[in-house]
Subunit: 292 residues, 2 copies
């Protein structure tokens, strides 16, 4: 059996790796994200060393076009990142070697790893929410990654403001109307004049943050009825947040719907820093499993 490839294509850093079919990493490299062409040159230089790669999972920073059959399928869409808007990422890889590629977002990649072997490994329906520089979600419904007219952008759902929050918001599109504009790392930093890391555990900041994350969790629950909501990214590193999110979730849900016990329902990620790469391997493997 051949090898699996992984490309974790982040906005600031690319990680590439090769593993055997048991997901043991054979070689791995990382480099800063340059423009589309130069970065892919380095990606291809890495994979060129391996003759027997059977499939590659690509988890890319967005927005990207994941709608099969679309004219721009496999491209990076409009982005402020220089040298990436309209870049045909998947086309470049296919021109290099025409093997199966799983093409999805970075959030979906990490979410898929949580679904396969992480915090949501025992369920069929889950939401993975990453709260860091932005807010993004990977959703699994009935054991499949949810996608429709593109990938979810569940970090931009519209929310009620916390009564004590007068912040003007940080989303260039939705201001203080959406989750990302109210609760992503840059919003926290801008609102309080200090980074999330500097804010003490007993600061009002966390009550407000928990309110927004809980409100989003209520909306995901109403719409998707997941069995698990997994929080990743930098902001949820603050452990004090979890009991606060669960408490606020109960207050906003008001006993309307049954969910699993909140301690088992609203949980942190279980995979460490390898989640992105791991997700790419699992996705690559899923393509080969389908072919069998």
């Amino acid at each position: 059996m051949g090898l699996l490839g992984a490309i974790e294509a982040g906005g600031t850093k690319f990680v590439v790796a090769v593993a055997d079919r048991d997901f043991n990493i054979i070689e791995r490299d990382a480099f800063p994200t340059l423009d589309g062409k130069k970065t892919l040159d380095k990606v291809i230089e890495f994979f060129d060393k391996f003759d027997d790669i059977e499939a590659i999972g690509i988890a890319a920073f967005g927005p990207i076009d994941i709608v099969e059959g679309s004219r721009t399928y496999g491209h990076v869409l409009d982005t402020p990142k220089r040298g990436w808007s309209g870049y045909d990422f998947l086309g470049r890889m296919k021109a290099w070697r025409d093997i199966p590629y799983f093409w999805t977002t970075d959030v979906n990649g990490a979410g898929w790893a949580e679904f396969m072997t992480g915090a949501a490994k025992d369920v069929d329906n889950m939401v993975y929410l990453t709260v860091g520089t932005g807010v993004g979600a990977g959703i699994v419904s009935g054991g499949k990654m949810l996608a429709g007219y593109g990938h979810p952008e569940a970090g931009h759902i519209l929310l009620q403001k916390h009564p004590k929050d007068t912040y003007k918001g940080h989303c260039p599109f939705h201001g203080d109307k959406c989750l990302e504009g109210l609760a992503a790392g840059p919003a926290i930093e801008d609102r309080w004049g200090m980074s999330a890391k500097e804010i003490p555990d007993d600061h009002l900041a966390w009550e407000i943050e928990a309110f927004y994350l809980a409100q989003a969790a209520v909306d995901y629950t109403m719409i998707l009825r997941p069995e698990k909501i997994v929080f990743g990214g930098g902001v949820p590193h603050r452990e004090v947040l979890f009991p606060m999110i669960r408490k606020s979730f109960a207050e906003q849900m008001k006993d309307y719907l049954a969910t699993p016990q909140l301690e088992d329902y609203i949980v942190p990620v279980a995979n460490g820093d390898n989640a992105g790469i791991l997700g790419c391997f699992y996705l690559a493997e899923s393509l080969l499993a389908e072919e069998k």
Copy 2:
């Protein structure tokens, strides 16, 4: 080939029908909803006349337990409706005849009909939202009816209030915090002191109603990326609402995400009053198709 059965189990009225495998209705009956036992007596009396029913689709008023493997699967859950809380609806039917049953909510039944032959017949991903006495949603993702830890309750997502709306809300759980509490028929009537039918087209009521329905549509779009959002129920009979919902959707979405053209994206139902029964027949047929 045998026959298909349909039970549209509404909170005030039951409709039962039998059709051939081409969905031509052979016989149909309707009667008021009594308590669980008495109503099912009448249902069974109707179906007893037909020896060759192969499968029955049941679309029932909620809340109901649709989680297979659950201890109360097939039961009606806690409801203020007398003689229904905990009633084993599906068990009663199975005890009568052990044939395949598709057991789902009334909203999912009507939504499935819209997906199969109605306004969403050309897409694989859609949201059907009914706005009447309550607000409910049937969701199809990747060609499958979405369900997780129960069926969606997307009528209770939490929303921002319209700046001109001072109404206290009508949801017994969420007050003025959720879609149903702000935008269902009883909320409109209570807010303005007249029924939705009496309110003229140019009244502020419709601007506010459109704002809430559009905001919900934005959230469904962010999370599910559907190709179509179909509005049914009594309230969207007011045709002036549709251009207003589309306009408000664009204002709240702020060009963040590509959607289909709004005229094709936010649309009224295409099936008439038969949608519920039709959905049951399609669901029954799907069980037999799977067996083939």
